[in-house]
Symmetry: C2
Subunit: 484 residues, 2 copies
């Protein structure tokens, strides 16, 4: 009887939700359809949603949210599902509000350097839409060919060029947001340096889908740099590569990008889809890009080459043309996936350290690798100290997944210990909830969950993410109730 009742209630919810979304196939509810939504780019934990709805506009999102709120149904928003920390995984059998049908470029205002997009608009499409007029959108996560700008806002996504240009939050000028009660608010939007009142724009950006659902985004667009130059530098010793990074930054140059890969990473990218002929016997390669006014480029490249030579660089080469530059970036940007060519499974971590501690941290990560018996590749945004240790493992070997998770966590502990942090751009999601304790005291976590409760008091929106509180909506609610 109980089971039958439950099924019936669910059917009614599905029927009612279906009425709130327009267009064909705007709701999925059969198990075989839901399977594609049981995880995101973080694949270690999987849970089925109750349903997936595909609203076409803000009003539909608002109506869905109001329905969920009125019926006590957990819900969350999802973009392309490329997130790496599990932020879009339906831990509580959520109704997933997929924003992929809200994918229009609504406005381009070149004079004031802004564009307005819907959340499901794919990151790279923005640059592609304005590049003929000489403009681009700066944040460039490696998944930019697929990830959506709405997801980028939720995770405060970074990318290789954030060293010079800043992460997503530095490029968001305004948001339209559906709050967890269905209300629609607008924040920012006028592209001004300081906004009156509290910085809600900053608060919402990077809140990992726990405060509201973003339905419209005004972003800053930039004029293409007049010139750019890209070089590869190969080092026999990783310590030399690390020191070169540190010296380039302290020389006063701000490269557009300063990326590093270690020997294991090179083995992976050269075995995968976009090999570019990196030597296999070196310990580090730097991919360095400089952009700006044409007249200044050569001088900066000269300075960079001087630093590389000082640290015994084996070889340095500049990209001969845009095609070669493109191949080098494809090699780097597909680096995580490339680990699949040398390992059955891999776990990517995302820590941040003060740049000056780089050589020491790489040594400690090496030690974690030795102790765990698992290889760890390092592909990272060296210029801003944002490490991505990739723990290689085989999930078919009993216990190895757990070992990999432990090794990843140990890498984050090292980052926290040297005064760094546990995420540079991938977010906390499910994956790093417990590691939040490495960097926050209880009061500091409470200050944040108190803010969440202001926006999300019933905790129906994306519960169990971001903070080391109980994982499930129901548990959290029980705990909240017992405190009252």
């Amino acid at each position: 009887m109980m089971v039958r009742n439950k099924v019936k209630t669910n059917d009614i919810h599905i029927i009612n939700l279906a009425k709130l979304v327009s267009g064909p196939n705007a709701i999925l509810y059969k198990e075989e359809d839901l399977l594609a939504y049981d995880c995101d780019g973080f694949t270690i934990e999987r849970h089925l949603p109750r349903a997936v709805v595909f609203p076409k506009n803000t009003e539909e999102v608002s109506e869905i949210v109001k329905y969920c709120a009125a019926n006590n149904l957990p819900f969350l928003a999802r973009g392309a599902g490329t997130g790496l920390s599990g932020g879009a995984i339906p831990l509580n059998n959520e109704v997933i509000i997929s924003l992929v049908r809200m994918k229009r470029l609504l406005e381009v205002d070149l004079e004031n350097r802004r564009a307005v997009v819907e959340p499901g608009f794919v990151n790279l499409k923005l640059t592609n839409s304005i590049s003929d007029k000489g403009y681009y959108y700066a944040p460039d996560p490696s998944s930019q060919y697929a990830c959506t700008i709405g997801g980028n806002v939720a995770e405060n996504a970074g990318g290789a060029h954030c060293l010079k240009y800043g992460v997503t939050t530095n490029h968001i000028l305004g948001l339209e947001v559906v709050l967890p009660n269905g209300e629609i608010i607008e924040i920012g939007g006028n592209g001004i340096p300081d906004t009156p009142g509290y910085d809600l724009l900053g608060l919402l950006t990077g809140s990992e889908g726990t405060l509201g659902i973003v339905t419209k985004i005004t972003v800053r667009i930039l004029k293409n740099p007049e010139a750019k130059q890209t070089v590869l530098a190969y080092f026999d010793k990783i310590e030399d590569g690390s020191q070169a990074v540190s010296d380039i930054i302290s020389s006063g140059i701000v490269p557009a990008a300063l990326e590093m890969m270690d020997k294991t990473a090179i083995e992976g990218v050269e075995a995968a889809a976009f090999p570019v002929g990196h030597p296999k016997d070196i310990e580090a390669v730097l991919l360095i890009e400089v952009d700006g006014i044409a007249a200044g480029i050569d001088g900066q490249i000269e300075l960079i080459l001087d630093v590389c030579r000082k640290y015994n660089v084996r070889e340095v080469k500049a990209a001969r043309d845009e095609a070669e530059r493109g191949r080098w970036w494809a090699n780097r940007k597909t680096g995580f996936g490339a680990m699949g060519a040398i390992s059955p499974d891999y776990l990517v971590q995302d820590g941040v350290i003060p740049r000056s501690r780089l050589p020491e941290v790489l040594t400690r990560i090496n030690k974690i690798s030795e102790e765990s018996g698992l290889r760890i590749a390092n592909i990272f945004h060296a210029g801003d100290g944002n490490l991505h240790p990739l723990v290689l493992f085989d999930s078919r070997i009993p216990g190895e997944t757990e070992k990999a998770i432990q090794a990843g966590s140990a890498c984050l502990k090292v980052c926290a210990d040297v005064g760094g942090s546990i995420t540079g751009e991938h977010g906390v999601g499910i994956e790093k909830k417990e590691e939040m304790r490495f960097v926050f005291k209880d009061e500091e976590i409470k200050a944040q969950t108190d803010i969440r409760d202001v926006f999300n008091p019933d905790y129906l929106l994306n519960a169990g993410k971001l903070f080391p509180t109980p994982g499930r909506c129901a548990e959290v609610k029980r705990e909240m109730a017992s405190k009252r």
Copy 2:
């Protein structure tokens, strides 16, 4: 009897507070001493504090806050008192916690490009302390010789060079904060591009002293640019000057600074302490600074000169040396005060507009000037559309102060109407509380006051500021109570 009791109670509070602060003269409580603290840079409203205490360290701040909280005494923090919107005025007979004795430079870490300061440390002293090593601190409000970095954090201060380098929030890496219950928390600090959890750093920065008291600040420091060049450009017609600004920005150059003064402003600065010989018969002067790699500077200046010529510039000249550059900046940076040379009183406003609307907005401000019968000078950060209309008036003429306030508010309305905002860098404080309604709907203000209530639930800290709620602590509390 009542009065006597009240006095006695106050005496007891003074005695108790005095015990919480160390060193000589660490508390002021006599009316003649308190008079200096009845306003800040916004002088139109004046209120006496209950007392002024001068803690020496974070623990003393925490103890004072705990005492105030336990005894239901309103309190607020104050830096140098240079704020322009009344954020440090004791509307509720507050205990003022002056942070001017917490003025140490605690740490300089050149390798990781950060410095740690106490809140009472004066802005310009930071650059002066590190310039011999080739570094500087970017945010440069015109009051930088006096204002404190703690105050800059509270107001999210800007400055002439924010066009290229961003406002205070872009340079704050970490904060130590005493919450309104006396708890001490640390946020950020590791100088990483993205922080895990909510962006409390962004939330606290610019919260105008309503969420907590900042007691330690980690800031980003920058390497001095290799070269800089500064030019003045004189235009017969203000429309030509405005168009030149718009074209310079859309050419792709990001000048370090791009300032504009109109005819009335020029009359003022030339009559005051730092005249530099601007022609009196022009309608606009632009002060343009470019910095960066030496090799790129000349090309940028050439481009800028081309644009100026296109718009009929009468004369352009480059600074011959650092001394001349310094004189030009002194002329500009003392511009507000200079209005005192041509008017008994002036009221400075602080609006922001999309750059493309500049010519239209200047016309509308002109109209407000004509209608009110008051002269309005314009000195502003033209490059980022941050206007500072200065309404000239004479407070001795009955009704003229009110007329000036109305004209200032009308200027802000124009900014809001064209898609801009009511403050670029001076904050809302007391002055622009009602104007918050020009840019926020009721729900949007409520989302913010709800956040304030999380941090500041008893509303003892800096009550009556920033939002268009009742002005006094007691009124607000009555209103809050009636809602329960």
